[in-house]
Structure formats: C-alpha cells, structure tokens
Amino acid sequence: MTIATPHGSARRQVHLVAHFPGVNSHTIWSAPESGSQIDFSSFAHFARTAERGLFDYVFLAEGLRVREHGGQIHDLDVAGRPATLAILAGMASVTRNIGLVGTLSSTFNEPYELARQLATLDHLSNGRAGWNVVTTSDAFHGANFRRGAFLPYEERYRRAEEFVTLAKRLWDSWDADAILADRAGRRFADPERIHRVSHRGPQFDVAATSTVPRSPQRYPVIVQAGDSPAGRDFAAANAEVIFSRHTAFEEGQAFYRDVKGRLAGAGRGEDSLLILPGASFALGDTEDEARERARHISLAQTSPQTAIAWVEAIWGQELPGLDPDGALPEIDPSDGDQRQGQVSTNVQNRVARAAQLRERARTEGLTLRQLVAAETAKIEFIGTPAAVASEIDRYVQGRAADGFVLVPHITPTGLDEFVDRVVPLLQERGVFRTSYGADPETGANPTLRHTLGLPAPQGPSDAYAVDFQPDVPADAHLEGAAA
C-alpha cells in the first residue's frame, strides 16, 4: 500500500538513520580527517549534521566490554565509546527534532531502572527517544556485571520479551493525566492515577511504580536487530523498526515479505513496522571516482594486521607466520575464542565458514588480505550522488527496505557529504521530507514516532500481569488494532 505524503505524491517515503561510526574495522582511524571517537564535540557534530539532513534518528551501538583478541585487548580497531544513555541525553541537548536511539541490553539491565532511564530520555528530548533492544548471554560480557553470565542462550529472547512487557507496563504506570498541578485544590498528582505494576514471570518478580510520569511518546520507539527465527518473532510482536542486515535487493525483498507477513499474526498492520538495513556508501563525481574511493576505503579498513586478526578470530586460534598477501590457513578452525564476543562459537559453523572463504579466494583469485577486504569492507552504495539517490529510491519503491541505516566510515564528518549531496536529490525525487514538520504555532518538535510515520504503539501483552491492567487511551487501542 502506498502512503499519501504531505508533498502530494504517492511515492513511498525514504527513512534515513545515522549510525555513529562503530568500534570495529569499518571505522577508519588512520585517515587525517579522522577525529575523536569519544569527545562530545564529535557526537554533537554528528547529531547536528544528521539533523541538518533531516534524518529520522541517530543511532548508537552499545559497549559492554572492550573487545579482546587472543586473550588481550584488541588493539587494531577504534576502541572506547561512551555509555549509551548519557551520550544520547547530551545529544538531545544540542538538537531539536532528530530522534535519538540507543542500543541497550535486556540481559545486563533491570526493567525498573532501564524503563525509567528511557522514559527520562523521552521527557528530556520532548519525545524523541528510541530503544534498540538487544540480547546478550555470553560469559565474556557477563564478566563485567554483578549477575555474570546467568542467562542460557535459548532464554535470551524470552527474557527480552518479558522485559519489554514489564517495561511497557511501567511506562503506563502513570496515567496520561496523573499530574494535575492544581494549586487551588492543592493536588499535584492524583494518587488514584498512579498505579502499582505487579508482575510475576520467569525472569522478573516485582511490585513497582515508575518514578517517571507518562512520557511524551508513552513508549520509546522499539527497534530490534536480531535475525534468527526467534528474533523475527520477537520483532513481529514488539519492534517498530528492524535494523536489518539484508542489503541485497532480492534478499531484502524476501526478508521484507517474511517479517511483514508475521505482523498480521501479532495483530499489527504492515505500516506499523519499518525495515531499515544497515548500509555504507562511497560517493564520487563520476562512477569511476566513486569506485576508486571505495577501493581506497576498503584498503584502509583492512590493514595487514586487521586481515590476520580477522582470520584468526574465525579459526579460533593464533596463526603465527600467516602471510596477509598469501593464502588462508590449511588447517580447519577450532572452537577457541580468539576474538571474544564477535564470532560464532559453534565449531561446525566455523568449519563451514572456512570452506566458503577458501572457495571464494580460489574462484576470485584473492590474497588473504584482499579476501578479508572483500568480505568485511562491503560498501553497499557506490556511485555518484544521483546514482545513490536513485538506488535508495529503488529499494524503497521495490519493498526491499523502508530506508537505510547509514554507517559512515569516518568520525565525525563521514555523514557530511551524504547530507550535502544525496539528501537534496532524494528530496527532488519527492521521496524524502523537506522539513521535520514542527508545529507551526508552538514550534514544538515532532515526536520520533511521528517522524517515522508509525501508529501509536501496542500496549503490553497480558502475560505475567498479576492484578493490574493499565488504562490505555482508547485511540491507541483503535490504531493498534487497525491492522
């Protein structure tokens, strides 16, 4: 179905997300223009640039432990990043309209605390907060937390599901009209409209009332990135945005059909969930220049040391004497954790992966470093600004995506050129907003959910509720059920 847009066209609208460059080999630190990965000025520049480009939201990954390789700190990639929520609050301070979405683990947080933090961010940003729900279960990350690695792998989505359900009930624990601020009647808040949430489930057992009144969006926008069948079901039930990895056109279409097809079973409409694959880009004045820049970027992303470390991570062991300009190892991978928290620990997966890599190196005649560059330094959009705008539009009109999470490779200026050169062309095509649509009278900013064009969110499921059902506004029921 197509959406009539404010511009009067019937073309499907593109959504754009700005992913702060990550702590991995995609982020190039060796370039002269590469700036601080941690100073606030970098985050302020990035958020302001994305807002200048009218992006839907900025997005941050989460750090729970510094990456290791062979039992030592991994020293080849950018490392060190801020705590997610605090930096988002700082970015809220220097922007006005753009959404602020952070990755936060449902494993190493407690619902009461995280729900109040997210509700706080929603208040402080005037309704621009979002939460990318991730699950974690490994001992490597657990070693930094009181509870350690307490969660069996199979249970991580069950915990996430119960976590989100409880969080939504906490976000609803204050009715929307609980604050009266009635000076004459000397009633600040109405205790009858502030409710205790009693919840008893396998993961959580609480009797709680949030300290934070109902926030502007009621709930932050829920984002999800898992790709397993359990992850897709979780997304169909809970997510409003999927950060997907399916960037090839047909594969993207298949994923799009699969996930959107699951929505009806969850009582949701197709337009209640956006699918936004991650993508990087290399621009040039000509196609040749863009390809040359892409080659340059790939090479910078894959130093000889990085190429060897990547192979060692999959092989699960040190591989002394490996030549970056030579071939892959002859031996098969083991189940060792050479680079912690990055690679499947299942040895059969690894052996299969090694066979696949050998085959690719052989058929394409690649050295080890060239192979790693081809495998990891993948750049989705290479071309002139016009060609990239056209390609993004094609994906969105063809239902291979609703837009993209753009991942620049330079901190903090990697997004600037896209904003200056590609965004205007998307606007010319009538597929991207020309303003955020702040309220013309009050100047009030739109909420993130409004910017994304999403309906009011679904209330929490009834699971685990002991004795309290939140008061859900009638219109939210209607919109949620309109699917």
């Binding site: 060796s30 750090g63 605090a86 009461y112 808040a189 009858e192 502030i194 057992d205 709680a208 934070v212």
Partner: protein, 447 residues
C-alpha cells in the same frame, strides 16, 4: 589542561546548590514563582541550572532515588502476589500516597547530561544509587557525563535501604536495615552490609576510571595499532559482593577521577566517606529528629568526627587528600529576617505542618545567612551546599544576593573562567592514575 591546584583545601568556601523538584519544602510547588507543572521538561531544568551557572556557583547536585517519595506502603511482590492469589480485590493504588506534594523524578544522571552542554563552568553532581545498580553501568555513565561536561562531572553516591526500592527490583533480597538503629547511631548489621557494597561499587568505579591510561590511544599507522594495549588494563576486581573484570569501555575522562560525594549523618557513614569519597555533605546544628545521629551536633564536632573517621581509615597514608567537608543548609531567604520567616510560615501553612528536614532550616536575610556560613567556616567547614526551600525564588536570591555578599566578605572566590574542572572547584589535585603508577613502581623494582 587542568589548572594546577593545591592538595590542601582552599581558604575560600565552596558553594553549591542542591536541586530537587520544586525545592525542598513540601509546599514549594505552591509558591507563585514555581513552574512545577513543567517539572518533567528539559526547559524547567535548563532554566534553573543557567541561573546557577551564570552566578558562578561551584556545583549543583541532583537528588534521585529508585522509588517514589510518598509511596511507602506498597507490599513486597511476595505479599502482593499472595493477596492476589487469595482472591483479594486488586489494590494498585497506594493508600498512603499524598496528592499535595510533588511526586515523580527524572533520572538525575541523564538530567545532568542534558544540562552539561548548556552550561559552562558549574559542576554537575547527580545522585546515582549503588544498591540495585550495576557498578559497570554507573561508572561508565559518570565517565560519559565527564566527557559531555568536559570535566565537570561529580557523583553523589547513595544507597537504597527501603522495601519500596526492593519491591521495584524484586528477587534480590537485601539485608534488613533497622531504621531505629540508624537514627540512634547504633551499629546495624544490615546497614553495614549495604555500605560495604557501596564501598565496593565506588572502588570498582575508581578502578574503571583509571583502566585506560591518558595516552592509551596512539593511532600508530605504521604498526596498524589504534591502541597501546599495555596502557589499557583489566581491573580484575573480586569483592565479597560481586566481581568486575574491566577495563572500562570509556577511555579515561577529562578529570580522570570524578569527585565522589555522599551525604552523611553519622560516624558510620563518615567512615564510608573516608574510604570512598572526596567530599562529604554533613548536617550540623539541627535539632530535628530527621538529622539522625547528627542531631544537635555542632559544626565543630562534626568536623572532628569526620577527621577521626579519616584517621582510623588510614586515608592520609593512602595518599588521599583530606575529605572536603561541605555543610548542608536549607535556606528560605528574603529582604529581612522577618520577611523570610513569614515566607517559611506561609509555606508551612500551605503544607499543613511545620517543615522538618535532616539539614538545618534557615530562614533569614542574606547578611544573616552569610554570617552563619562565615561562622561555620571558622569551625573547619570547607563549603556549604544550599538547599533552596523553593525554586526559582531562593535560587535567584542565592545567585543574585547571597553569593555576591559572600564574595564581598572575601569568603568566596571571584567567578572562575569557563571550563574549570570540578576537581579544581574542590581544590583536588589532578588525579594520578593508579595503573600508570603501578607500572612505574614495577619498573623501579626491576631496575
């Protein structure tokens, strides 16, 4: 980057303000100046902090707790479920909750993070509790605030000993604290355990804050190394309550070590301050029972108690600067003493009962307040944290009149330049890195 400062406390007083809701008086939100209806908006907090920042106050603290204020009587999850199982009608509303006081709070650390880019020199000290939180998250969030504020972050450490917070988190059963013991200043095993847990959280934070040396990021293109990993350290903390491997995910922040503060009413908590904190807030000259063990204690006696706690903790031997002792004072100010007393009485009348606080309540003129503060300084107090009964009214009077009066008397330094570190406000020397020192010692032994 940080100006060089002294190890010894400055002879000038440190002056800060404690922000909480509409002010510290329960009826503050009924004050005509109050904007309490916008208490949960960014503009409300921005307005207040800009007043404090422009005046040149050294710091602002932000109260917080993982529970509602007036909601005390909720049953534990166990009891609630039992009632439900027994078929009792649902009871989701607290019978003891009060409608006539401000209820609800935003997360203090995130509020401070929002305010950091909107201010230039004021220290931002959010309350962050340790009892139910993850030390790793607490430590890294504070480091992030230090980056966002460019060196103006502090931490007011707090424990949660109440059953309401316990029910909010569920499951984790904590030792029972006997409130009667605590108020009387008697030993309490439950309190001891929570304070020990807090000390471990503070120790983990300090280790994580040092886990990256200042020059760990080398960006060495020739070897392909972004980091010098010999300058990034696991902390391998193994306490009696939890363990944390580290290192931090956040590089060393501008201040390196973020000033740790806590509020203490008793020698037992002074002892925690002596091992864990840089700054202790105390409550002298308060005859109210809410002052707990510090009830009726003079400023000079509290200073003596704190110094004794320091001595028995071996603080000096560990190379730590003496605790900065900051006295809390609730203030209702006005043009004359009588007018201030009238104003406080009106607020009391609106609240329906006289205001009671754990800190001394002062109603008087600006010169009278300055005279009291001057006397406390002569008793060995290093600074004052003012708790305005009502904001913005009393905050404006502090900013526009009391601070200039203290400056005129030579008690408080002239306004400082933008970007001053909070450590400098407390006259704390730049923090040495424990791991860097350790490396040097090892080399010396080896040589």
């Amino acid at each position: 980057m940080a100006p060089i400062s002294n190890i010894e406390p400055s002879d000038r007083l440190v002056i800060g303000v404690a922000l909480d809701g509409a002010g510290w008086h329960p009826a503050a939100w009924l004050d005509t100046e109050s904007a309490a209806e916008s208490l949960f908006t960014p503009d409300y907090w921005t307005h207040l902090i800009v007043i404090a920042d422009e005046a040149g106050l050294d710091f602002a603290t932000f109260e917080d707790a993982l529970r509602l204020r007036s909601f005390g009587a909720f049953a534990s999850p166990r009891d609630a479920h039992a009632a439900s199982d027994a078929g009792d009608p649902p009871r989701t509303v607290d019978p003891d909750a009060r409608a006539d006081v401000v209820e609800g709070r935003l997360d203090a650390l995130l509020t401070a993070s929002l305010l950091a880019p909107r201010t230039r020199r004021i220290g931002l000290i959010p309350t962050v509790t340790t009892t139910y939180t993850e030390p790793f998250h607490v430590a890294t969030a504070l480091q992030t605030l230090d980056f966002v504020s460019q060196g103006r972050a502090g931490w007011q450490l707090r424990i949660s000993a109440d059953s309401a917070t316990e029910a909010n988190f569920g499951r984790q059963r904590l030792p029972r604290v006997e409130v009667a013991n605590v108020i009387a200043g008697r030993p309490d095993a439950g309190l001891d355990e929570l304070l020990d847990d807090a000390a471990e959280s503070a120790e983990v934070a300090r280790l994580l804050w040092d886990s990256w040396e200042d020059d760990a990021v080398i960006r060495d293109v020739s070897t392909g190394r972004f980091l010098d990993r010999s300058r990034v350290h696991r902390i391998d903390f193994e306490g009696s309550h939890f363990s944390v491997v580290g290192p931090s995910i956040v590089p060393r922040s501008p201040q390196g070590q973020i000033p740790v503060t806590l509020l203490s009413h008793s020698p037992r908590v002074h002892a925690l301050a002596a091992v864990a904190a840089d700054v202790v807030f105390v409550t002298p000259e308060n005859d109210d029972a809410a002052a707990g063990a510090s009830r009726g204690t003079s400023a000079a006696d509290i200073v003596r108690e704190v110094r004794e706690a320091e001595a028995s903790s071996g603080r000096a031997a560990r190379g730590l600067a003496p605790l900065r002792i900051i006295a809390d004072l609730v203030v209702a100010l006005d043009d004359s003493g009588d007018l201030a007393i009238d104003r406080l009485s009106r607020l009391d009348a609106l609240a329906g009962s006289p205001f009671s606080s754990d800190a001394r309540i002062f109603a008087g003129s600006v010169p009278e307040a300055a005279t009291l503060i001057e006397r406390w300084q002569s008793d060995g107090i290093d600074g004052v944290r003012l708790r305005p009964v009502s904001v913005p009214t009393d905050l404006r009077l502090i900013a526009d009149q009391l601070l200039p009066e203290l400056r005129a008397r030579g008690l408080v330094a002239d306004p400082v330049p933008d970007g001053r570190f909070l450590r400098d406000a407390f006259a704390l020397a730049p923090a040495a890195n424990r791991f860097a020192t350790r490396t040097t010692e090892t080399e010396e032994v080896a040589a």
